[in-house]
Symmetry: C2
Subunit: 181 residues, 2 copies
DNA sequence: ACCTACATGTAACCCGTTACATGATTTG
DNA sequence: CAAATCATGTAACGGGTTACATGTAGGT
């Protein structure tokens, strides 16, 4: 699903500006898709050209003006039919796991730092998802998807906490760094 | 981490052809990175031009000729220093979860099919990872990364199995499809 | 007969990231 | 006084996917 489609999805939840949609990609959408301003703003432009959304400038005091987008009827329809034909593709790209895969080529301190960092990141994103899951504006689908994200990340966190010590011990004992020809 | 770097990583494990590296991306690497022929072959070309790998054609009977690549000393060094500076980035893109997020806009049968499909996919990839984890050629890092993948996917699978029935019941009861203006 | 596995490669195209450009206001 | 937040946008660049091109051997 590309940024354009997810923007339609965001606007299905409520009218919003590009900036606000970005925050959605960093919160409720974060466990299944990321997007930057460089893809969101052009996406919104194209959607407007295609007549799938409309925009309206809202002036604010002491803040820059906002461009609030809203779904049109055809935007709504297009989103529905896109959902109906979207295959449930998955692709994860984790440099963390890639680095773990080649752990023997890392220094123990680097490996340990990587794991601690990842644990901290997991804590943070689980906390964020948990606070989202308490919002009462969430539809049942959104709530379920967020809980699924929490369950997945929690399992990862627990696995790391349960096994990191043994892994690091093994790593520093087997010191592969000194192996030369 | 781009395809080029992961190709160096693959060749660090053992000499291989592009076709064999592709199989690695579909098995041991699959839970953290995917790559197609269209990125692997050009990556290998560039690596050879840069002197990081060498190639050697191996003729076979009843099979097409293979081009076996091997890491050079400088390829090995480059891979090591890349690992040392690679930040542990993560980005997951899951259209399955996106679809779940907007479950209210789906028909119950489609939603149910999506979940069953995803459960089947999880079973399959967990099975594959389990068989990989039993290979004795695996280094400790690779073994740990595969077990982490199994733990993560198993948690997802169990969450879905434990909660799908309630979710689907709620979905079909709350029939949102009939809501019109 | 047909599909799958083996095996390598090219090229168009799409999408998205990164970095830049601008500028007020609030928080530390 | 510096940094983050609010707010929108553009353009270059890079990376990867998809689809095409080609051909043999073995299984159903």
């Amino acid at each position: 699903m590309d940024t354009k489609t997810l923007c339609l999805g965001a606007l299905h939840l409520c009218d919003a500006s590009g900036y606000e949609i970005k925050k959605l990609f960093e919160s409720a959408f974060s466990h299944f898709q990321k997007a930057s301003f460089g893809s969101i703003y052009p996406a919104l432009d194209k959607l407007e050209q295609q007549g799938l959304v409309t925009s309206q400038v809202e002036l604010q005091e002491k803040r820059p003006a906002k461009k609030i987008y809203a779904l049109t009827e055809s935007g709504h329809q297009v989103f529905l039919s896109t959902l109906a034909v979207t295959p449930p593709t998955e692709s994860c790209r984790s440099d963390f796991i890639a680095l773990i895969f080649f752990a023997e080529l890392l220094k123990t301190e680097q490996l340990s730092g990587l794991i601690e960092q990842h644990i901290a990141d997991l804590h943070q994103s689980i906390g964020m998802l948990q606070s989202i899951s308490q919002e009462d504006t969430l539809g049942p689908g959104a709530a379920f998807s967020v809980k699924l994200g929490i369950a997945t990340k929690t399992a990862r966190l627990e696995y790391l906490q349960a096994n990191k010590a043994a892994f690091l011990t093994q790593h520093s004992t087997g010191e592969n760094q000194g192996v030369t020809t």
